[in-house]
């Protein structure tokens, strides 16, 4: 579904990604792990069109998307749930979710999609008229994911969903991510929480200093000595 081939991305003169290649298939959870500053968010932003690669090729559902604007990529069925949630703080839960269905094609069906999202997050229906900034951290993350789902994506990019949340809430969020995979949505997941992420992911890539250094089945990666030492502290 998503094919990234040999991309280089720069911030001005500084190269942040070096020849990155990866692939995500339908209804598959693919994790991206790496230390702070490895370029994880840069990679996600390049895929979703907020940054553009200097060279290389990105294809999504058979269409070339590098160079396309972010809003156009959303319309193709990719949604990016950014790090730190980035809600609209003074708008209601409902309005936040509705904005996820902003592309005109989706706006017509927004009430129906909203019902679907409320089925996944019943708590959000209870709090639909509450302002987003008054929600708890976990609820805010749910709104962020729900907003991403409102665009009825085939691929969901989720950046650090566990940051700043209590362990119990993190478990809940991870359960939801598994559930999305079962509803045939591909997931590209970036996480600091390496152990838990590798447990739910089908495959994973390791990003170091802007280069992919390892990739494969996540169960196998969990066994590898390098990973256990560098990321799991074992």
């Amino acid at each position: 579904m998503l094919q990234v081939s040999d991309i280089d991305t720069y911030y001005g003169n500084i190269q942040a990604l070096w020849g990155v290649s990866l692939r995500i298939d339908e209804a598959e959870i693919v994790a991206l792990v790496g230390a702070n500053g490895a370029g994880k968010t840069t990679l996600l932003n390049t895929v979703s069109g907020l940054l553009h690669p200097a060279s290389g090729r990105i294809e999504f559902c058979g269409k070339r998307i590098d160079g396309m604007a972010a809003y156009a990529i959303v319309q193709l069925g990719m949604s990016h749930i950014p790090e730190g949630r980035r809600l609209f703080p003074d708008m209601s839960t409902r309005e936040n979710l509705q904005l996820g269905a902003y592309p005109r094609r989706l706006w017509k069906h927004k009430e129906k999609t909203l019902e679907e999202v409320y089925k996944i997050f019943p708590i959000l229906k209870e709090k639909e008229s509450q302002l987003a900034r008054t929600l708890s951290g976990g609820e805010q993350q749910m709104v962020a994911i729900g907003r991403g789902l409102m665009s009825m994506p085939r691929l969901c990019i989720i950046d650090e969903p566990s940051s700043g949340l209590a362990p119990v809430v993190v478990d809940e969020i991870f359960q939801i991510i598994l559930r999305l995979r079962n509803e045939d949505i591909g997931i590209f997941l970036v996480e600091q929480n390496v152990q838990q992420t590798l447990e739910i992911a089908d495959r994973a890539y390791v990003l170091e200093n802007g280069r992919i250094t390892l990739g494969g089945e996540s169960k196998e990666l969990l066994q590898q000595e390098v990973i256990r030492k560098a990321y799991l502290g074992l």
């Binding site: 907020l50 809003y71 949604s79 980035r86 703080p89």
Partner: protein, 316 residues
Amino acid sequence: MDIARVISKRSSALWAPFLILILLASLPLCAPQYTIILLTTIFMYIVITVSWTMFSGPTGYISLAPAAFFGVGVYTSALLGLVLPLPAIIGIGGLASFCLALFVGALTLRLRGTYFVMFTFGLVELLLHFVLWWEVNITGTTGRVVPTVNNTKVFYFMLIIFVILMFALYTIRGSRFGLALEAIGQNEDAAAHTGVNVTMVKVITFAISAFFMGAAGALMATRWTYIDPKIAFNPLLSFMPVLMAIFGGMGQLYGPIIGAAIFAYLEEFLITRFPYYYMLIFGTIMVIAIVYMPEGLVGLIRRLLKSSTEGRHART
């Protein structure tokens, strides 16, 4: 609260603006000329302030370009005043500003914060000096004579511009477009993430708001008989809408209207009574207003209403 009161409250919210409008429209039949002229000025300020709020309110981009768009309208009127009928001039003045705003917006709305503020103000100065240079070096005369129009007619046209503006604002507010606009103000990156074409939404709104400023300028020019670049592109007109909107409060649709109405009247009152000190008094009032009413008149009214209903609940 019983049902009868709910219904009467809702219908009054709908009918009150209509009643006020009819009242205003019938004013020229009985009121003296002075009142008509004063009301035209007040409505000019209301139109500029409300159209400024249309863009800068939800997005938080503080534009200091109103004087530029207004001035473009003024000059359109001066150039075409003898050739075309008034409604056409107003329309063309608005369109000219609309086009200028599209062009400038596409160039600058990628800028954020202070840079945007500086640029928009620079635009006023740029246009002023460009037109001045043009008149000195190319046409050889500064300033132009504008054919005058009857005061009552100007008043009616200003009222029509105001009504169309309110209609446009109301339509945008409840729409998908309006929601996107508000989202941009709250978190522009997140808006882009959710698939809003942020640049397009900003540029179009900026241009629509400029349309009304240009239309107001084209109409007001007919009141002045003589204009030159310094009158047309008066920087004060860039600051006034900002002050008036803050004074009124931007949270509600009616805030900028009240703010502009009171401020415009205050200006007239102070100029006639204290011609030498009026700016000083004006400034003092502004400072006091910002310190004691951070959310403007609207915020003050809401606070008073809240405390009065709370008081009532406490008693019962």
